[in-house]
């Protein structure tokens, strides 16, 4: 039997397989290169990048919770100029597309970061982060209001010709409203979910554990919520979806694909097993072969039929 097709197209971005990394969990790429061959991934999504460098939030920034973690990193990053100067040359050496996650305090910030990155070259697509729960301005504030989400998307759309993936927050009453709104504003694909807003309290000090009080929950604990969100968005809009949230095995990834995701991202799972993303690629291929499915695209959304 011939090898099944694993290639997918995410809003104009061609990926050799449907597996990528979730922004913020994979640095800029080189951090994980001792452990896996990054070129075996369908794409790499790198750390959230802003116009100016950001220091991030006070520590502690991470706490473990049952089958999950809360983080409140606060988009610490060296700024777009530094990324262009220091990481773009590395991105250009990779044989897999790099998607840069972009964020900002204002609509104009997003547009400027998008413009700088697309002019610099070496970036295959942009992921617009309107869903970070850990920053005071921008982030989730944009992503929880369909009109604001559309405004950011439209501004980035007019600043770049690169494929635009808009990353959605689960911290909303109806995720399909935001999905529909950014679709109309020019998004080429959607990624979901970002983390779920949560918190933990240290009973010995009587204070919140995280320096920023609240943080975003990720890991296996959030998987059912993420899967539900993918299911709903698949029904609501026509755009391809990159599904994420608690995926740590090929079986998890296949659930997301069947719910409607054309691709999947590994996030927190990278911390526990730095080779997990490549293992998921292999596991998906094995599943297709075993079940006589010629093309992974045939599985996308099958749970709806």
């Amino acid at each position: 039997m011939t090898k099944p097709n694993l290639a997918v197209n995410i809003g104009g971005l061609q990926m050799k397989n449907p597996v990528t990394t979730a922004s913020g969990t994979f640095g800029f790429g080189p951090e994980y290169s001792p452990y896996i061959d990054i070129n075996q991934l369908g794409a790499v999504v790198v750390k959230g990048t802003t116009l100016k460098p950001r220091q991030g939030n006070p520590t502690p920034r991470m706490v473990e919770t049952p089958s999950g973690i809360l983080n409140s990193i606060g988009l610490q990053n060296p700024g777009v100029e530094y990324v262009i100067e220091h990481y773009l040359p590395y991105f250009k050496t990779l044989q897999t597309p790099v998607i840069v996650n972009i964020s900002g305090d204002t609509v104009e910030d997003y547009a400027q970061v998008a413009e700088k990155l697309s002019q610099a070259g070496g970036v295959a697509a942009l992921e617009v982060n309107i869903s970070c729960p850990n920053v005071k301005k921008g982030g989730m504030a944009f992503g929880s209001d369909p009109a604001m989400a559309a405004e950011v998307t439209a501004a980035v759309r007019s600043a770049t010709n690169l494929p635009l993936v808009v990353k959605l927050s689960p911290n909303v009453t109806d995720i399909t409203k935001v999905a529909e709104s950014v679709t109309k504003a020019g998004a080429n694909a959607l990624s979901l979910i970002n983390t779920l807003l949560g918190m933990a309290i240290d009973i010995n000090t009587g204070r919140p554990v995280l320096g920023n009080i609240m943080g975003g929950l990720s890991g296996p604990a959030v998987k059912p919520v993420a899967l539900r969100a993918v299911w709903q968005v698949y029904d609501a809009v026509q755009l391809p979806i990159i599904g994420m949230g608690g995926i740590s095995t090929a079986e998890d990834a296949l659930e997301f694909i069947m719910a409607g995701a054309s691709a999947v991202a590994l996030g927190t799972a990278n911390f526990i097993n730095p080779r997990v993303a490549v293992e998921v690629v292999d596991g998906i291929e094995e599943y297709l072969t075993k079940n006589g499915i010629n093309d992974v695209n045939e599985l996308v959304g099958v749970a709806h039929s």
Partner: protein, 260 residues
């Protein structure tokens, strides 16, 4: 050079109430590990606890490939680690982080360890004695029982000064008091509770002794990707967050911002 390996546990001995010394076999790790580096250890087989635990490399024997981890049971992860039996497999990533800068052979060195802080210093002492560097150890803990691996350090032929908070052995009080009158120190290394390291850093600053500290912080990835384990360091402009896992865990004492 960093590895992801399954090593066979040789022993996992309880030293006192909540401290354990685990040894496992990995010639590959032993060949590349430097004093001050750490391993990211998978403690359980389920998703709770989810994350690996960063544990400093305590001892290395390059001849037989045995690596030692000295750890304190502090929560779910280390509790599970303490239950592992000889013959079982240990999933470790590493060595990670930057180790201690080794001294010049002519320098007189002192290490200052507080409680479990002796863990990474022991490997440094192993390495320094192998290179015939003169070193002294100043060790403190709450009680005599919590002074760890003192006999092993003696076996290295190192001059040891002890202190305990309750006076049950050695000097009655903080170990840093012993350091105040200590002559002839060209270089210091320290690991232990933050107030102790801060006191060492202050003393060293006054006497102009180059000093390195080994910090601890909750970690996510351990490889510098997630930016969870940051600490504040002094820079020319604003103070900046550096990653304890990838930029540390060893820092020059002078650059650490202690008052956070």
């Amino acid at each position: 050079m960093s590895l992801l390996i399954n090593a066979t546990i040789l022993s996992n001995n309880q030293l006192n109430n909540n401290h354990y010394l685990m040894k496992f076999n990995s010639g590959q790790l032993a060949a590349v590990a430097k004093p001050g580096q750490f391993l990211h250890v998978k403690c359980g087989g389920t998703t709770d606890p989810l994350l690996r635990r960063p544990i400093s490399i305590h001892s290395v024997n390059k001849d037989d490939g045995v690596v030692g981890l000295l750890y304190r049971v502090a929560g779910k992860g280390t509790k599970l680690l303490s239950q592992k039996k000889p013959g079982e497999i240990l999933d470790v990533m590493g060595p990670l982080g930057n180790g201690f800068t080794m001294p010049n052979t002519a320098e007189k060195v002192a290490v200052v360890g507080g409680g479990i802080g002796i863990a990474p210093l022991y490997y440094l002492l192993q390495k320094m004695t192998a290179e015939n560097i003169t070193c002294k150890a100043y060790l403190g803990a709450r009680t005599a029982a919590e002074l760890l691996v003192v006999e092993n350090i003696k076996k290295l032929g190192i001059d040891i000064q002890l202190a305990s908070d309750d006076g049950s052995t050695g000097f009655h009080g903080p170990v840093t008091e012993l350091l105040k009158d200590a002559p002839n120190i060209d270089r210091l290394y320290t690991c232990g509770p933050l107030p102790m390291m801060k006191a060492v850093a202050q003393l060293a600053g006054e006497r102009g002794i180059p000093t390195q500290v080994s910090l601890e912080e909750r970690m996510g990835c351990g490889v510098g990707a997630c930016l969870a384990c940051t600490c504040r360091v002094k820079t020319a402009g604003d103070n900046q967050y550096k990653r304890v896992c990838a930029d540390g865990p060893v820092f020059n004492a002078g650059e650490v911002v202690w008052d956070d």
